[in-house]
């Protein structure tokens, strides 16, 4: 009866696994979405595990599209997105969804070229590259902006996101604002019909692709470029200045925003001499009415901690914290969450 003994062993194993896991009940709050703020979120959740050991926040960076979709389907306790949800999607939600802005960041133009020269781009050039019209690194449009840099006669490998992404939302939002052709041909969304390039999954995937592919150019959140020592370009803003993405230039862009009551706002192509033009905020998506009171309570505690203490970690990871007045409004909104 070897086989049945074997089966019994397996059965015992399952039983054991079940018992041991329920014995030490630790609350798990599940979230999913944006990869754009993933570095800071994972830092937060790691820190928060020390502050409140009774709860763990499991965050899967599947992309902002995923964050919106999964919170709508209620398969996660909170979602995360760097593109605000559309009215249409909000209307499909089974309850009122709140946008809680956490930090702001920048989409940077990262690339992989021999010698990693410092480069400058303007709106036309970026749109041209992503529309597939500028194909080579030594195109006059690029060399014109970068006199003094010798660029190779090499094809530009455009890398974009293959998944639904808020980073893409910010990127396409910017391109739609500065290029009428982009607006009509492609448009703004978390996923679009790309005219050219290869797809990577998540900011991680795009950064990985750029790093693996000589001649590649793509957009990733600032911290991914910094952590992976990839060069990223200065971009000409609406005031005509070339601006390097940084906490300061993101904060400047953020300061220009007129933020409505539902906190859905865009800061791409922001005015201001020193504002980085491809910046955006990122949001946590939570239901105002929490189904599970215990989880809801812990979630609110965390959100408050993030708005107050978490924000202080933002700068270490090159994200811009929310301005003080906005923070107050956010805290008030968090108080509206019911259980």
């Amino acid at each position: 009866m070897k086989s049945s003994r074997f089966a019994r062993k397996i059965f015992n194993l399952v039983l054991l696994a079940g018992i041991s896991t329920t014995a030490s009940a630790q609350m798990m709050i599940n979230g999913a979405g944006a990869t754009f703020p993933y570095p800071i979120y994972s830092k937060w959740f790691d820190e928060y595990a020390k502050i409140d050991p009774a709860v763990r926040f499991n965050y899967q960076s599947i992309g902002s599209g995923g964050g919106q979709k999964q919170i709508l389907a209620q398969t996660v306790d909170f979602g995360a997105s760097d593109g605000p949800m559309s009215d249409e999607n909000l209307s499909k939600a089974p309850g009122k969804l709140l946008h809680i802005p956490t930090v702001a960041g920048a989409d940077v133009v990262a690339y992989n070229l021999p010698g990693n020269p410092a480069l400058k781009f303007d709106a036309d050039t970026i749109a041209g590259i992503f529309l597939g019209q500028i194909k080579k690194w030594n195109d006059p449009k690029i060399t014109g902006l970068n006199s003094g840099v010798t660029l190779p006669d090499q094809e530009i490998v455009v890398v974009h996101r293959s998944d639904g992404s808020g980073t893409t939302y910010i990127w396409t939002d910017y391109l739609s604002k500065i290029s009428p052709e982009w607006k009509t041909k492609v448009g703004t969304n978390t996923s679009v019909n790309w005219p050219t390039g290869i797809g990577g999954k998540g900011n991680e995937g795009v950064a990985g692709q750029i790093k693996q592919t000589p001649g590649a150019l793509g957009y990733v959140e600032l911290i991914y470029a910094i952590q992976n020592k990839m060069p990223y370009a200065e971009v000409k803003n609406s005031a005509g200045n070339f601006v390097k993405p940084s906490i300061e230039s993101i904060t400047t862009a953020l300061a220009t925003a007129d933020i409505p009551d539902d906190f859905r706002f865009s800061i791409t192509n922001a005015p201001g001499a020193d504002a980085y033009p491809i910046a955006g905020a990122t949001w946590l998506l939570v239901y105002q009415q929490q189904k599970d009171a215990a989880k809801g309570k812990k979630l609110v505690e965390f959100l408050k901690w993030a708005a107050k203490d978490g924000e202080k970690m933002a700068k270490d990871l090159q994200y811009a914290p929310m301005p003080d007045n906005l923070q107050q409004r956010v805290l008030k909104r968090i108080d509206e969450i019911e259980m």
Binding site: K69, E155, N193, G197
Partner: protein, 330 residues
């Protein structure tokens, strides 16, 4: 010895014989029979479940796009327009590349293993091929990203471009991640299955065939070619189709090397996208209902094509063989 016939013979008509031997049924017997029947019916339930879930999930998209879903190439989540043609194209082309590489190698290896190789080498080789089959897709993908792609980009791809750059298939920039890389990784994944099924097929060729050819003075290769390979043609075709079925559904390794871009381009250096990869990448993140529906429909298309390929393969193989073939299938 005649008595030492393979066990398969004993199974030709087992059921009636066994039933006749059974004592009059008791409750326990009936219960056990019903229990096992219920479990065996699981396979039917599973097929219905697969079809039903995918159908249910995609009914709106099917209604909205109809047959055009398969023939249009716009994949535009902004406009809620979805056509699966680039994914079908990517799946078909990457699978064809894989077959082109894998079929000759696999069948030659199978012939080597059954006809040509020294006896001592056969079993170790078979074991190694089984081990290759056991490597998970994601690990081949990992190897593909960090080892295969950089190597392809530096050596074979530029060479191909130099030699065949005049054809439309090897033009344009070399990214590394490409349709061709996807095809090669799929080829590696289906080599073991085509080889082992082909080997079983060749083993099932009656020895009489070989003896007759040898008697005519044929060389070893001539015996293999005339008496064995051509005799087993149909079965080998079944093995190839079975490999095709696997190729169509390969997911992780392909997703990691193919470039994930829905486009139809002649150049194999260009990135592509397959039915399975688009599900892997976009399924959890489709924001609109229609987007999700379209992905479910892609799942349905994938299920349909792989089931068709497998049906065809099983039919071809059944005409050839015994239980040993289906064993190798797994």
């Amino acid at each position: 010895m005649e008595i030492a016939t393979p066990p398969a013979v004993a199974t030709v008509e087992p059921h009636s014989a066994r039933r006749a031997m059974a004592p009059p049924s008791r409750f326990g017997d009936k219960a056990f029979e019903w229990l096992t029947l219920a479990m065996a019916m699981a396979v039917v339930v599973l097929v219905i479940l697969l079809g039903w879930e995918l159908w249910r999930g995609s009914s709106l998209a099917i209604k909205k796009f109809g047959f055009h879903f398969l023939t249009t190439s716009t994949w535009d989540p902004v406009a809620d327009q979805f056509g699966a043609l680039p994914f079908i194209y990517g799946t078909v082309v990457s699978s064809l590349i894989a077959l082109l590489i894998a079929v000759p190698l696999s069948i030659a290896t199978a012939a080597y293993l059954t006809e040509l190789a020294p006896l001592w080498i056969r079993q170790p080789l078979v074991s190694l091929i089984e081990m290759l089959a056991a490597i998970p897709s994601v690990i081949l993908g990992l190897w593909g990203i960090f080892v295969m792609i950089p190597w392809l980009r530096d050596y074979p791809f530029p060479l191909l471009k130099r030699l065949f750059g005049w054809t439309p298939f090897f033009t344009g920039p070399i990214y590394g991640t490409s349709m061709l890389a996807g095809g090669i990784i799929i080829a590696i994944m289906i080599l073991p299955i085509i080889t082992s099924v082909s080997r079983e097929i060749l083993r099932s060729v009656p020895n009489l065939q070989r003896e007759a050819a040898y008697a005519l003075g044929a060389t070893r290769w001539e015996v293999t070619r005339i008496a064995v390979l051509s005799y087993a043609k149909k079965g080998l075709f079944g093995a190839v189709i079975l490999g095709l079925g696997r190729a169509l559904g390969e997911t992780m390794a392909v997703t990691m090397v193919i470039g994930n871009t829905p486009q139809i381009a002649a150049s194999l250096f260009k990135p592509g996208y397959t039915l399975a990869s688009v599900i892997a990448n976009e399924f959890t993140e489709a924001t609109t209902d229609m987007y999700l529906q379209a992905l479910f429909e892609i799942g349905l298309v994938l299920l349909g094509t792989t089931i068709l390929a497998n049906l065809l393969a099983q039919l071809l193989l059944q005409t050839m063989s015994t239980t040993s073939t289906t064993r190798a299938v797994q």
